[in-house]
């Protein structure tokens, strides 16, 4: 701890004035919670003050922005680091972390403390806590429920002149789209339009290349057009499911949406880029995870009634939405596992979960989400619940990263860079994924 001491002295001495008394120095007994750097994380800092006061443990936080989050945290787990005691890791990591013993299995702890997964939304339990999927083996407690949904400029949609023009063009009223096709039309309608003297665009969508962005976006189209990860009857059989005609149509749809409705230059956009585009008044709609909604409501430009929300619209093959969100896990390498479990016990309490919603978090506890009056508690509350009911997630296999990266590359190459056809992209993806599953010995 010598360097720690030197550093703390230096930090305190020189930046004492700027750091406003809040100490971030790590002691051996302290808990470090790792998560993505985003609004909900800051809300969690606020919420956790209550835990600090009650338990006497001191909380430190390590927040990493989304584009680097998986990279950094998987590196941390694989390098056997001791940085994190608690990790709110992304849903897809659970397979690898469980199989490699990087997360503590929580079944005994849940039994002892009387925490039951029946109290949480089933989709979040499957998505965030279980490995293997659909088996009662838990490696996390659902911490933050999240799903891709849409935000739109209600104030623009309601303008009579815009409504009139839209009706003339498409023969229906301008409103929340009932299908993905309608959504594309609305996007195209707004694309390049002059509103209040500024050129605006249709829809900010996910196109990011480096981490998981475009995959988290394109799946919302793929699922609804009929893409499936594998043969339901024959696991790891991909041919004809990943690259079915329906899936090809879904991918082509996403490219069309990108070309006709996305703002120019939005070729590498993920959560924060879309927030920027929307808040600065560039776009009529944005695709984004639900976590942004409290921030939209609070925004001086687009908040307080100017924005509306809707769940990912249906496609020809049904209505689904990409699952986001995370469970909270105890890192097996941690030296303070007991204190970390104490935190989870505290966090699982219904009162804390209710407060979590109030400060801008998104709990998965049924007691909060199904409480009377929940739908009216926030303008986006109902859309959030509707969306959580239709979620699907990406592979959560231990080889998750090897599966995600080729998808990022193939999809980005087709949708953004315009290389090859949709069929070629998905055929290529089948080839890449087959190779991964062969390496894994699953095929």
């Amino acid at each position: 701890m010598k360097t720690g001491l030197i550093r703390s002295v230096a930090v305190t001495a020189i930046f004492g004035a700027a750091t406003m008394g809040a100490s971030t120095i790590v002691h051996a007994d302290d808990l470090t919670l790792c998560w993505a750097a985003w609004d909900p994380a800051n809300a969690l800092v606020e919420l956790s003050k209550e835990f600090e006061a009650q338990s006497g443990h001191k909380m430190s936080f390590e927040f990493v922005p989304w584009p680097n989050f998986a990279d950094r945290m998987l590196n941390e787990l694989n390098s056997g680091g001791k940085l994190c005691d608690l990790l709110i890791g992304d849903s897809q990591w659970i397979g690898g972390a469980a199989e490699n013993g990087q997360y503590v299995k929580l079944n005994d702890f849940f039994d002892k403390e009387g925490i039951t997964m029946d109290d949480f939304l089933p989709a979040t339990v499957t998505g965030y806590a279980e490995w293997p999927k659909n088996s009662p083996n838990y490696y996390a407690l659902p911490a933050y429920a999240d799903v891709v949904g849409w935000t739109y400029r209600k104030d623009w949609f309601e303008r009579p002149e815009i409504q009139k023009e839209f009706k003339e063009k498409y023969g229906r009223d301008l409103g929340v789209p009932a299908s993905l096709e309608e959504l594309q039309q609305i996007g195209e309608f707004f694309q390049g339009r002059q509103i209040d003297g500024k050129t605006v665009y249709g829809a900010a969508i996910y196109t990011e290349r480096g981490s998981e962005g475009i995959t988290m976006g394109v799946t919302n189209a793929l699922y609804n057009y009929g893409f499936k990860y594998q043969d339901p009857a024959n696991p790891y059989e991909l041919e004809g499911f990943v690259n079915s005609d329906a899936a090809v149509a879904g991918l082509e749809y996403y490219k069309k949406l990108y070309e006709t409705a996305a703002p120019p230059g939005a070729s590498d956009a993920y959560m924060s880029a879309n927030i920027d585009a929307y808040k600065s008044g560039q776009v009529a709609m944005q695709m984004n995870f639900a976590f942004i909604w409290p921030g939209v409501e609070a925004d001086p430009n687009v908040g307080s009634g100017k924005s509306g929300y809707f769940a990912n619209p249906a496609g020809p093959a049904g209505q689904f939405a990409q699952l986001g969100g995370q469970g909270i896990s105890v890192v097996a390498n941690s030296d303070s596992k007991d204190a970390a479990l104490e935190y989870i016990k505290w966090f699982a309490q219904p009162e804390v979960q209710q407060k979590w919603w109030d400060v801008g978090g998104a709990p998965a506890l049924k007691a909060v989400l199904e409480a009377p009056g929940f739908n009216d508690s926030q303008p986006f509350a109902k859309t959030f619940l509707d969306s959580m009911a239709i979620v699907k997630d990406f592979w959560a296999e231990p080889a998750y990263a090897s599966l995600l990266l080729p998808m990022q590359e193939r999809v980005h190459n087709y949708v953004i860079a315009g290389q090859g056809t949709a069929k070629e992209a998905l055929d290529g993806l089948v080839k890449d994924w087959d190779e991964v599953f062969e390496d894994e010995g699953k095929k």
Binding site: N100, P264, I416, Q419
Partner: protein
Amino acid sequence: MYYEIPMSDSTLERVARATPIPIANKVRGLSDRAIAWIFVAPTIIILLAINIFPLLWTIYLSFTNYAVNRPNREVKYIGLRNYERILGDADTWVTMQATAHFLIWTIVFQVLIGFTLAYLINKKFRGNDLWTTIIVLPMMLSPAVVGNFWTFLYQPQIGLFNYVVAFLTGADPSSFSMIGNVELAPWSIVIVDTWMWTPFVMLICLAGLRSIPDSIYEAAECDRASKWRQFWTITVPMVLPFLMLAVLFRGIENFKMFDLVVQLTGGGPGNITTLSSIDLKREAFEKWRTGFASAYAVILFVTVFGLASIYVKALNRVKQR
């Protein structure tokens, strides 16, 4: 390899003069040989531990299917399978092409602009020192931080770059996206690298220009050689070894290029700007295919070493001319 370069004087000669035997014998205390070893050993040990040992380990790993993130999986010896896969994969060649494009064009621009600037600065106008220092600044900064900030400058709606171009050409600033467009993205990284590293070439060229004695020009003047002829028969040949040295440095550095480009484009759109180092990092530390990535690393290392050796041979030939 560098010690054959013309500008450094032969270290061997200096040392031969450096240790007069009779004096060395008179010295009290430790023998010179002991001191030499005490002084050199730590450096050699550290470099062996941090460079050679890892390199050997990389070569060993390249023949296995080892994966860092799968500690429970049996490590198997798989022969040349990793190498076959990499060399047989079309994507490898796409990244090699991207690397070559980046390498060639950055060198072309940096040599042209760098030499021109050096030539102009050598006119010794008033205040040339101050302006030279200003031009040199970008080169010394952190490429990752600079690359990150350039994504902001390249933003079509809000970025400075697009507005400057729009101002100069009259085009609509949001009509093009340097990073997002497939045609422009490879140039976006060339532009930033040129911005950062032209001063490097410039400084070396300047040293070359200043090394030419005035007497040569004076003699040419007496022979009534035109300025144009003087430029091609005196200036260019005399600066060429310096210029080739600059190209060698830039070539090696840009073959290794990682930080600037990964921050700037992340390898996108698609894999248009995925340079070899970026691809390697993805395989090694995102997909965690350790064995596969090790083979990739070996291939890259052999390539850069091979190209540099060929180049140094050429450089020495120029020097001897």
